[in-house]
């Protein structure tokens, strides 16, 4: 599977953000998108996820599910955690498993993996920022998607959480997955750097 972008340009509110960006990532490879604040890292991820229209250029996927579009094969872990405060931790995760078509894997086991086993019945409203992030990460494990689009995945995670997540990303890459992550800090995995914007 190969994800490639050719001459990708981004414009927000009529102003150009970046233009002529080429990138390529193969199965088992991670791409770390770096750049200053406002350089368009999140926009690039959202364009790959099909949530933002490209101003110019194209993003294509070769290989993978022939019947599926690129967004349908991708996980998007954004700034917002996509959690409902009124639902419990386990209800939140079970919903995304059912909606995104995850395998009937054991949800509580996944919660234990991300260190939320003890909080399964707690409403998500009471989780800390780091715990919310862990719960979103649990979504990546529950539903199989070959492409992971991660926007600042390490934010709010403690040191143990960050190394746990680095282990998960390595497992995902070892299984032939593909990761595009926007980041300021170190990801904790070997990744090729994709710099947006001239200066940092």
């Amino acid at each position: 599977m190969r994800l490639s972008g050719r001459g990708v340009s981004c414009a927000r509110g009529g102003r150009p953000v970046f233009s002529g960006l080429d990138f390529e990532a193969n199965s088992g490879e991670a791409l770390a998108v770096v750049g200053a604040n406002g350089s368009g890292k999140t926009s690039l991820l959202r364009m790959i996820a099909g949530l933002l229209v490209l101003a110019e250029g194209s993003i294509t996927i070769e290989g993978g599910g022939a019947e599926l579009t690129l967004p349908e094969q991708a996980h998007y872990l954004g700034h917002r955690d996509a959690l409902k405060p009124a639902l419990s931790v386990i209800e939140n995760l079970s919903f995304w498993r059912d909606f995104l078509g995850g395998e009937r894997s054991d949800v509580s086991e996944t919660l234990a993996t991300v260190g939320l086993g003890h909080a399964a019945l707690l409403p998500a409203a009471y989780l800390s920022a780091g715990q919310k992030r862990r719960l979103s990460i649990a979504r990546l494990l529950t539903v199989n998607r070959p492409i992971w689009l991660l926007d600042e995945p390490g934010s709010a995670l403690d040191a143990a959480g960050a190394s746990m997540f680095a282990g998960m990303m390595n497992d995902h890459l070892a299984r032939g997955g593909l990761i595009v992550a926007a980041t300021h800090g170190p990801l904790g995995i070997t990744a090729r750097e994709l710099r947006i914007g001239g200066r940092t």
């Binding site: 099909g50 639902l87 209800e91 909606f99």
Partner: protein, 221 residues
């Protein structure tokens, strides 16, 4: 199917929990109808004549009141991004959300109608006629209103804008809903306005999800 059932189950569960807003519509409906006899005065004959219109107006306003939450909550917490990216067609997901919204916020209005009919001096036939027309007509309000909800999803405090946007679409529903109720009470032809009301609901059921999905796709930022 699992995906749609999960989406509906989640939305209904959230609506029924604390702060979910399923009861807001019913309470507003109750407020409007309870206040009306005090405003109109103790003329029982007048109340009976105005009853169906008051109930329909209350139900219409109550369903507009809660509609802005339909997509906004999902937009604000990022769930909408994942729903758009998912393998379930967005049109079906929109339809499932609207149906869940109707079950949680529209159906209680119909259930509350017999009780509120008592306050307006409506007899059993009139009350059941209004309840029946509301049952047939409120889906049209929800499914056409969802177009406005999808258009206004990125705007905060869009409740009033939404009401103005969907006003032209809700006027026919109000006209035929009240007409059918009045017809049942006078004993004139009930079938014609009621059929048109059902037709409006069916048209909304088809057009609403498609239009809402299209505007959600274009409105994402």
């Amino acid at each position: 199917m699992t995906a749609l059932a999960a989406l509906m189950g989640r939305d209904i569960r959230i609506a029924l929990r604390v702060g979910g807003g399923a009861l807001i519509g019913v309470l507003f409906f109750l407020t409007v109808v309870v206040l009306m006899p005090f405003a109109v005065g103790p003329d029982l004959a007048l109340l009976t004549r105005l009853g169906p219109a008051i109930l329909w107006l209350g139900a219409l306003l109550a369903s507009l009141l809660t509609l802005d939450r339909l997509f906004m909550a999902d937009h604000d917490d990022g769930s909408l991004d994942l729903i758009v990216m998912g393998r379930t067609p967005l049109e079906l997901a929109c339809a499932a959300k609207a149906l869940a919204h109707w079950l949680a916020a529209g159906l209680p209005l119909v259930i509350a109608t017999p009780l509120l009919g008592l306050l307006l001096n409506l007899d059993a036939i009139a009350t059941s006629a209004v309840a029946l027309t509301l049952l047939a007509g409120t889906p049209a309000l929800t499914f056409t209103g969802m177009i406005g909800a999808a258009l206004a999803v990125t705007l905060h405090r869009s409740g009033l804008l939404l009401a103005v946007l969907v006003l032209p679409l809700s006027i026919p529903v109000l006209i035929f809903g009240v007409a059918a109720s009045q017809a049942a009470i006078d004993g004139s032809s009930f079938g014609a306005p009621f059929s048109i009301l059902c037709a409006l609901s069916l048209v909304g059921l088809v057009i609403g999800p498609v239009a809402a999905a299209a505007s959600l796709r274009h409105g994402l930022d």
